[in-house]
Every structure is written in structure tokens, then in C-alpha cells.
Symmetry: C2
Subunit: 382 residues, 2 copies
């Protein structure tokens, strides 16, 4: 238990409503050798942050005013009044992966830094634009950029971060940088495809599990795949090695997203920084919902009926639901097996991610650290 709590950087010892990660946790505890090496993960994330943040900040400083300030607010480096802030910059899994990826190719971790920075820039470009498109008012417990600085700045600064990503990589001036940028560009296109799918799914009654996995592969898998291979590419790895590392990252991303989908319904608002039943309020067709609607039986039938009626309601009517109505839907999803299926899916993706590492010849320590990161992703609580 202490292992898991410590691995979650927002760990709380108070009991969580819904206890979202129990299934995954139990499964990990039951499989010897797969328990999370917390100390190692904490150090990896910290190393990623320490090596990446100064370079990321220097890159953002290149932006003209007021975009530099807006970006600094987005990253949590300053508050709404421009005062320095030690905000929550996220879990920093991507930078940690990019650095390990360089080491997997036999290079020093520093070789992966421009890749880590570029991936972080693209990730944050997508957050800025997605928050605006989705109308999300909160991220990481703070008002989103479009809410504070207006839609135009959210668009503009997102664009600028995307451009900056290519700039940072290509100024290395090496053939490896060209290959890395190409991979990042392709990943970005998949990121955009995923957001397009996400938007279109919101207007549909039913989304299949396959469609949902495809969307999540684009929206989350592609950039984690890039993070897990970009350091290796910068370190001179061949395409076969880079592809294997990308496959690890892709499945890690799908495991991450499955856990995210569980937290989106059953997560503790204090840990996630979101409302209770957050994804249900947004009518998000996430994995537990897709799996439940695809199941047989009374609970699935009742859920389908409720959700078909919900789909006809205006957003305002829908948001007027009281807690009990969302709780009812969440209970039906669970009864129909959507929660359990998603937990198992996280585990399946975790296993596939680790298997992808087998084809790569890398130092044993690096392999263990990549495995520890994969474990961490599955047991996190936010």
C-alpha cells in the first residue's frame, strides 16, 4: 500500500471515494517482480524535470510579449497576476521517457533533452487548443488559458509552442534532428486526428470499444510513443530500435489512458482536480462507457436507455442532474462490467508495452527503469 501511495505524487492517505485504482493495484501486487520501484520512478521523473525545465523555460522565453507571459501562466510558472508560482507542471512522464530513450540507444540522457522539450511543447500546444475547443475551464486546479487570457491567446500561444517544438529540434542541424522532427510531426498529426475523433464522438449516441481505443491511441498513445523513441533517434538509433521503443510508448499511453478513463468517472476530485463524475458530466464516450454499452444484460440495457434519453437533453438540462443521477449511471457502468474491463485493459496494455522492450538490446538498468515507469502509469491516482 505504501508503495502505491508514494508513487502517486498527489497521494492522500485518506480513503478515496470509489477507490479507482484498486483493480490494477491488486493485479500488480499479485504478479511478483512487477511491483513499482517507487524510489526509482520518483528519481526518473525528477531527473526529467530537472534537465528539461530550464531548456523549456529558455525556449518559451523566445516568445514575444504577451505570448511568453501567457505560456508561463499555462506552464504554471507564474500566477494570473504574473507572480512567480511553483505550480503543478504535470507528472513529467514524457520528459522522463525521452531521457531514458536516449539511454536505451546507448547515449547519455542529456542527448534526449531537446526531444523532451519538443514533446512537452507539442503536448502543451494540444492542451491549450483542446481546452478551448472543449470549453474546459479548469486544468491542473487552475483556470485554463482561454478563460484567463481569452480565446485568441489560447490559439496563438498554442500555435507558437507547436512552431517552437520544430525550431528547438531542427536547430541541432543534424540528420537525427530531421528524423526526430519527422516523427514528432507525424505524432502531432495523430494527436490532432484523436481530438477530431473525440469531438465527433461527443455528438454520437454510441461509440464502440474499438473506436474508443483508436481515438485514445491517437490522442495519448502517439505522443507517448514519440517521447519513448525520440531520445533514441537523437542518439543515433536505427528505425527498428526506435519503432520498438515507440511501440512500448504507444501501449504505455493506452494503459495511461485506460487509467485516466477510470479516474474520469471514479477518481477522487481532490486528487484529480476535476469534478465528481467528470467524464459523465461531459458525456465523454470513454472506455468504461463504451465497454458497458457493448455488454449484454440488464445493467447494459438500462444504461443504454438512460444515455439515449440523456443525448436528447440540452447541456444545461444535463448539467442540472443531481449527484444521485450521475452516481446511478456510474453504478450501471460498473454493473455492466465497464469498470472491470477497463482495469483489465490497462493491464493488457501494460503487458504489451513491456513485451515491446524485449526486441531492443539495451542496458539492464534502463530496461528496469522503463518497466518501473510503465508500472507507475498503471497505478497512479491522478
Amino acid at each position: 500500500m505504501s508503495t502505491i501511495d508514494a508513487a502517486s505524487s498527489a497521494s492522500k492517505t485518506a480513503p478515496h471515494r470509489g477507490d479507482p485504482v484498486t483493480p490494477a493495484k491488486q493485479r500488480l501486487d499479485n504478479e511478483p517482480g512487477e511491483a513499482v520501484d517507487t524510489q526509482s520512478v520518483r528519481e526518473l521523473l525528477e531527473r526529467g524535470r530537472t534537465l528539461t525545465t530550464p531548456v523549456l523555460r529558455a525556449a518559451v522565453d523566445r516568445l514575444a510579449s504577451p505570448m511568453d507571459t501567457v505560456a508561463a501562466y499555462h506552464f504554471g510558472w507564474i500566477d494570473t497576476d504574473g507572480r512567480p508560482s511553483s505550480g503543478d507542471g504535470g507528472k513529467a512522464v514524457r520528459p522522463a521517457l525521452a531521457l531514458l530513450s536516449a539511454e536505451a540507444a546507448g547515449a547519455v540522457p542529456e542527448t534526449g533533452v531537446p526531444g523532451a522539450v519538443a514533446v512537452e511543447l507539442v503536448h502543451n500546444f494540444s492542451l491549450l487548443h483542446d481546452d478551448l475547443m472543449d470549453g474546459d475551464e479548469q486544468r491542473r486546479h487552475r483556470d485554463t488559458v482561454w478563460k484567463v487570457h481569452g480565446p485568441a491567446q489560447a490559439i496563438l500561444v498554442g500555435d507558437a509552442l507547436f512552431a517552437l517544438a520544430g525550431e528547438i529540434l531542427l536547430e541541432l542541424g543534424t540528420p537525427e534532428a530531421g528524423r526526430a522532427t519527422r516523427r514528432l510531426t507525424l505524432a502531432t498529426r495523430r494527436l490532432i486526428d484523436g481530438q477530431a475523433q473525440d469531438i465527433s464522438y461527443e455528438h454520437r449516441d454510441v461509440v464502440t470499444v474499438e473506436e474508443c481505443l483508436d481515438m485514445e491511441g491517437n490522442k495519448t498513445g502517439a505522443l507517448l510513443a514519440c517521447a519513448a523513441s525520440i531520445g533514441a533517434v537523437l542518439g543515433g538509433a536505427d528505425d527498428r530500435t526506435a519503432d520498438a521503443l515507440a511501440s512500448y510508448g504507444h501501449h504505455l499511453g493506452l494503459a495511461f489512458q485506460a487509467v485516466d478513463d477510470l479516474l474520469g468517472i471514479w477518481g477522487d476530485p481532490e486528487s484529480t482536480g476535476k469534478q465528481t463524475w467528470s467524464d459523465l458530466r461531459q458525456r465523454k464516450k470513454s472506455l468504461p462507457v463504451a465497454a458497458a454499452l457493448g455488454a449484454q444484460g440488464e445493467a447494459a440495457t438500462r444504461l443504454a436507455k438512460l444515455m439515449a434519453a440523456d443525448a436528447k437533453k440540452s447541456q444545461a438540462e444535463f448539467e442540472d442532474f443531481d449527484e444521485a443521477e450521475f452516481a446511478e449511471r456510474a453504478a450501471l457502468i460498473e454493473q455492466a462490467g465497464g469498470r472491470e474491463w477497463t482495469s483489465q485493459e490497462a493491464q493488457r496494455q501494460h503487458t504489451t508495452a513491456l513485451a515491446a522492450l524485449d526486441s531492443v538490446d539495451m542496458p539492464g538498468r534502463v530496461r528496469e527503469q522503463l518497466a518501473a515507469l510503465a508500472d507507475f502509469v498503471v497505478v497512479r491516482q491522478r
Copy 2:
């Protein structure tokens, strides 16, 4: 006269209100050897379109649904109902430049095609986002994408076109492609800087001529500089040659923008597809306004007073002005010398653009065609 009319692809023989291009035209006619070779320019633009459009369409076809459709609507290839359309795809100056740029480096024009396509993708990414940020409802005589398909699609498809630009170049897999992408990325950052300046200037009473030129250099000059050098880079030119061609493109862009600023106030709505006094309605701090406000004398003083009062009005009050009130402001700008100064500025930038070509060793025919394109840009009527 016939020379100029034929050079403008939207030429009308009916007299134009305001006759926006007379000053530039007269100056060109008065300088022997600088008259526009219309036949040559028409062929150059046509060649750019013919070689670039199929590759551009194939690139856009890579986008997932519905982004491919939204992009096809934006480019004018289909109408709002999805029916094929032979819409107005713009003047195609950038593709023509990219192809000539390859020839300036001794390569075949086809070498410049991926560069032309990438530049067009970035240009249209910026149009999609700018139209949304600026709230512009019309472009090229049609409803803008955000108006037809909603803000989310305008953001998403813009992002996708930007990503596609890097993809198209980097899949060439050559060191030249890496250099070309780096130049395009830097140009895109300047494009974004320019839009940020444009937005911030709208909230200010006065913008100096220097600030206006800086903004226009970013917003228009940078991408034309890239178009004019990207073909040469792909053709293996060294940085010195590419920089000289970029300088030609930069000043060509400033000349283009000066003419655009004249058309934005005195252009014929039938040619420009915009409202009368379009830039004045949008309170745009364009060159003629900046030059007039920076001048001495009665007209400048009266204009400054009017505009300071205008700045206090709401957008709705402001748009309620009748034609005579805008006409009064336009007349004051002209009396204060803003129109004449901007005409002369277009000419100065045109001269500087041509001078930049002197340092590049290129075939005489290519030099003449680059000069003809520069002439065309200064005398255009839309």
C-alpha cells in the same frame, strides 16, 4: 492601362471608386524597363498553380474526416454542400516564388514543389486561425471556415495543415529538407508574432509607422521570404544565396502589404471582396493610418481627434457609422499624406526587393521573372 488590368486576375474595366492603385501604376509606367510583363507573370502564376495544386490536394487528402472536407472547403475546392467548386484559391504568388527560387539555384522548378506546398499549407493554417481570432466572417467572397463549420474545426484543421507542412518537407529525408523546414518553422513563428502584434495594436490609440512595418514584416514578409528561398534551399543553395532570395521575398512582402493597406481603405469592394473602407471599419492600424497620424498639419490633428473619440466607442456604435463618416476619415488620411506615403513605401520596398537579387548569380530569365512578379505585386488591384 491594359497591361495593368490584365495583370490583375479580377480585372474589371469599369472605373473604380477611389482608384486605389493609380499612384503605384503611374510610378511604374514612368520608369522604363519596370513595366509589368503580364504574359510572363500570368504564366508564372499558372505554372505555380498547375505544379502545386495536385500535390497540395493529395496532402490535404491525408487528413482524416471531417478535416479533409473542411480543408477542401477552405481552399475553395468544394462548396458548403460538398459539391466540387472552382473557387478562388488566391493569387498563388507564393507557389510561383518557390518554383522560381529553385530555378534561381540552378535546379528544375519541380524541386521547389514540396516547398511551395508546405508554404501554402502554413499560409492557410494562419488564415484559418486568424479569421477565427479576428472574427472575420468572409474570405475570398465566401463564408470563413469557423462561420460554416464552427470554431473547433477552424482550430483543428489549421493545426493539421501546419503539421502537414512539416510532414511534406521532412519525408523527403534529405539534409536540404531539414534546412528548409527550419526556415519554414522560423517564418511561422514570425507569422505568429505578427498576428500577436496585430491583435495588440487593435487595442491601442496610436501605432507608429515603424511598429506597423515591423508587424507587416512578420505577418506578410516572413512567409514570402520563405517562399522566395525555400526552392533554392531544396535545390542545394548555400545560406548566402538563400538569405539574399529571402531578402527579396521579405521586401516583396512589405510592398505587397503596403498595396494591401491601400486596398483595405480605398479598394473597390467588387475586386477585393471586402466592404467599403474595410480596414477603417475594423479600426485597423494600417500603414496609411499610421503615416497620417504621424504627420503634421490640420488634417492629421483632426484625424487624431476623431480617432481618439472613435476608440472610446463600442464596436456596435462604431459599425453604425454611415458611409459619410468613414469617407471623412479616409479623406483626412489622404489629406494628411497617408495614402501618398504608403504608395511611395510600396515603391521603396519594390526597389529594395529588386536590389536584393543583385547579389545572387542566377540565369537572366529567372531574374527577369522575379522582377516581373515584384512589379505585379505592386500594381495588383485585390
